[in-house]
Symmetry: C2
Subunit: 629 residues, 2 copies
Amino acid sequence: MTRKEFRDLAPPARAHEAIASLDLDPDPETVPLDEARGRVLAERVDAALDVPGFDRASVDGYALRARDTFGADEADPARLDLVGRVDAGEAPEGYVDEGECIEISTGAVVPEGADAVVMVERTDEEGEEVLVRTSLAPGDRIMFAGADIAAGERALGPGTELTAREIGLLSALGVDEVPVRGTPTVGIVSTGDELVRPGEELDSDAGQIYDVNSYTIAAGVEEAGGEPKLYPHAGDDMAEMERVLREAADECDLVLSSGSTSASAVDVIYRVIEERGDLLLHGVAVKPGKPMLVGTLGDSAYVGLPGYPVSALTIYRTFVAPAIRRAAGVPEPRTATIEGTMAVEERYSEGRMRLMPAGLVEDGDGNTLVYPVDKGSGATTSLVEADGVVEVDADTEYLERGETVEVQLFSPDVRAPDLFGVGEDDPALARLLDRVQHPRYLGIGSRPGLRRLRDGTPDVVVTSAPGDSGVEHEELGAWTREWGLVVPAGNPDDVQGIGDLVDRELSFVNRTTDSGLRTSLGNAVADLADERGVERHALVEAIDGFDRAVRAHESPARRVLAGKTDVGLGLRTTADRLGLGFVPLGEETVRVLANPDRVGKPGVEQLRRVVEAGDDVFDALPGYALEKR
Amino acid sequence: MTRKEFRDLAPPARAHEAIASLDLDPDPETVPLDEARGRVLAERVDAALDVPGFDRASVDGYALRARDTFGADEADPARLDLVGRVDAGEAPEGYVDEGECIEISTGAVVPEGADAVVMVERTDEEGEEVLVRTSLAPGDRIMFAGADIAAGERALGPGTELTAREIGLLSALGVDEVPVRGTPTVGIVSTGDELVRPGEELDSDAGQIYDVNSYTIAAGVEEAGGEPKLYPHAGDDMAEMERVLREAADECDLVLSSGSTSASAVDVIYRVIEERGDLLLHGVAVKPGKPMLVGTLGDSAYVGLPGYPVSALTIYRTFVAPAIRRAAGVPEPRTATIEGTMAVEERYSEGRMRLMPAGLVEDGDGNTLVYPVDKGSGATTSLVEADGVVEVDADTEYLERGETVEVQLFSPDVRAPDLFGVGEDDPALARLLDRVQHPRYLGIGSRPGLRRLRDGTPDVVVTSAPGDSGVEHEELGAWTREWGLVVPAGNPDDVQGIGDLVDRELSFVNRTTDSGLRTSLGNAVADLADERGVERHALVEAIDGFDRAVRAHESPARRVLAGKTDVGLGLRTTADRLGLGFVPLGEETVRVLANPDRVGKPGVEQLRRVVEAGDDVFDALPGYALEKR
């Protein structure tokens, strides 16, 4: 077998077929009743006994012969001799003859001779006699043996998912061991020398990253009713990888590998497949996820997933999860799609099917808007910023704004967030959002946030950009934060202000132009230029690192902490929290602006109240103050 | 405290309030990442590190200085010196100077000096030189440190349910222990001397029944995100019950008891509550479920559920499960209601809110019909014969046929069965139904089945009643079954036919008048009367047990097996299977009749095909034959 280049990509339908042709079915098993919830019956269960197992009193009262009460009523009660008593869980001792009755409690065995029970409320006891103030028909207030379900009747069919209700019926039948579909065992092998398990030490300088796919795919396997088994990842040691693959194939119904599409890893997989199985498919015309392998390894099925987490999970959900659900007997979730209209236009260039990660937001009228979430398949945050995927055909070149699309939700419980905000990354905001029900916030920066608000997608934007926002809005609240230069603890270089950055050999880390803080810094530099009577750009060029820009608010300070720069742009609260020094340069105002059409949304209202009542948050953050209105 | 009589019933809203006022909140806990799926975050998780932790190549190619490629294209490539190579998971060794490049693989650290990566497809290697056939801008094909998520950014908020996606993000952040909401521990105490745990021996003569509520409520607690803890049931030993209640209150956040509404059990509960807690509510104006208690037992919350399984589960779901979900932080399931129209009229007499168990069926046009499932709250089969409940106000006197109602589904995955059949209980049918996707079949007998078909509720009826069905239908298939008298093995009384039942002292067990078999027997008796020239009723009265009728097809044979009768009405196949003797009396035809409006339903079509292809089923059952058409 020679190495293939993923050039002849299979259409997605063929990938579904290839996976459907694999045998992942586990053997059925027997589980105790108290572990049966969520499992699927492997075979029909017929009742082995009558329920109830005896003629059972449905009320507290007296067992009697109905014929003895014919014509009785309130005015003219029948008068019977009380000859005994029977409680639930007792064998009745007496026999009910003509003119007699036996006191009986709910659930007790109706004694022989009796053919009806009168409820206690319609009787009076007088010494050894009972007055019955109503007429009864044979069978009244008795649940006959087998009336609920009788021995030999079909109780539950194969394929039934066992919830509390089915477990109730099985209990009534005395079943304490349940034959259920087996759980497919899914081995998960992730490869790559750069991967480190969460919790272990990470060496970023050596290009290490945490292994995302192992736990993500394991959770996805559990969601689909399979049992994940994580294998120690093999690095790029090919002999070791071969050994792990063989071991997983021996032990599991399905083996999933991820990140194994590098040249040398593919070679190993080919070798193992060649020796022990079949390669059914290699490469699929879908984005994300092109590099996908489908085959067999001995008795086990095998699917090779792409390495990027979003691609791996998307391909897993689309192609693999349905097969695991089928093998486990778990029904496809029913209401896992929702219709919405595109909030923005989206264009495509490549001629392959696209599984577009999509976020949802409700507009002011309760309609669902859909927007693409595309941070590149290397970004793990897009895992949680999307609510589902829109399947876009290979020959679709663009989706228009306002076009209706169907979103395949990640799970039936997924719903649009109650509040969708974008804009500035701010530590007070992070805390305030904890008090809002089901929010989503994307820290894309003040300026991109204002652009998104103009497009009409988010409910609110949080901006620290000075000046006019240039977009119609309603202000929900505002606060100020102190900003300046973050320096090492004790300010060893004795930095006093921007002038030091210009005049001395100090390295600096700035924020990106998306950030409001960057604009505040730019204004301060312009003021200094005016003061010195020089051009602004002359000062900018004199600062070592003015263009060394990072996206997030803490990042410059963390570079200072790591000794990678002398000075960083940041907030007093960040410097304090990280134990660093701080040179104040000013205050800026962070404003929460709502889309005027969305001020009626409960989530938006909630955010307004949370900001107004947020004194404790602002008090706890040095340099912060709520703007009272 | 004196015993109360459940006379002053609280309105349902007050029961909700009382339960909402209880504190079931468990302490938060920390779980390993691989056990975090399905749990709910207890606090905000901010990123503790940059993801990625370094400037990362997004493609296989060459790291270089973008400025060196200005103006390069296919025809006029830039020519750079290849000075090294860096793979994923390695610290780069070289530095990229002007006019140089370093080979780099996807995911590797971009070496210092370089500010862009060109993908290998746009290059050629020539000895120690690389030809770059495109122009690059700074940052091309690089994912910068922190671009995915940066240290200090808000990653996930409190209250977030952890699915595969959130677990992916936590993995990327290196989090291996997750702070989650605790799981409320729910103690389950069921009482009653008559209760026996499934799997143990049952003495029906002593009125014993299997304990249904313990496992059912336990499964319901798990579904709501709680951890059930079953306590050994205390029988009616009140000292023991008191001990168990105290123990459960000490160990759990919530204690649920069921079946403890008998006078003596209530007394014990009152005593324990009086001593250690508060009684908040006693009795609710809702059917089923009137006898409900809400209170506290020391630090634990307490709810007393009714004893009947359907009542207990209904009250649990309506009042208790939402409180457990809130305590566990599990969101209310979203799509758990469906609208439908009443298939039949339903009248109410009592002035309290009713939670009407309801079944669903789709009509020929795909509309959802709703019918009441009411076998009495003592019946466990109604647990699985309903799909949800309709909440009917206390002042509603009837629901009209065709009226729109809202059904609260038992779970979001519940859907109408693909096939809804009613009628004769038949062993061949039980097996055929195993081959139909998601069927529901109620063995209510041939005659009631025909009546239901006339009402238009079911898709099909299965009838063995001879003669004209009297209802418009399309016949899907039919088979014959041999019926007769079931006698002990070896036929010790040498029974030859009905004449022996008439002429000799033999006890007999018949089927109910709902059954087709009973009609066949009646016809045979009439024939014998003609033959003998006597009145039919004279023969009937001479048979000891002609009116001793049981509902299910195997029940008479099982009475023979148990030595409780000499002769039973039944099928050859039943006699064979139970190892009993059989005296054949005739053959009857079992016909599968479809509602003509429903023949297009896939489930109905599937049943037709299953019957046609059912030779193996009929071959395996003695006395059976498929009627070929």
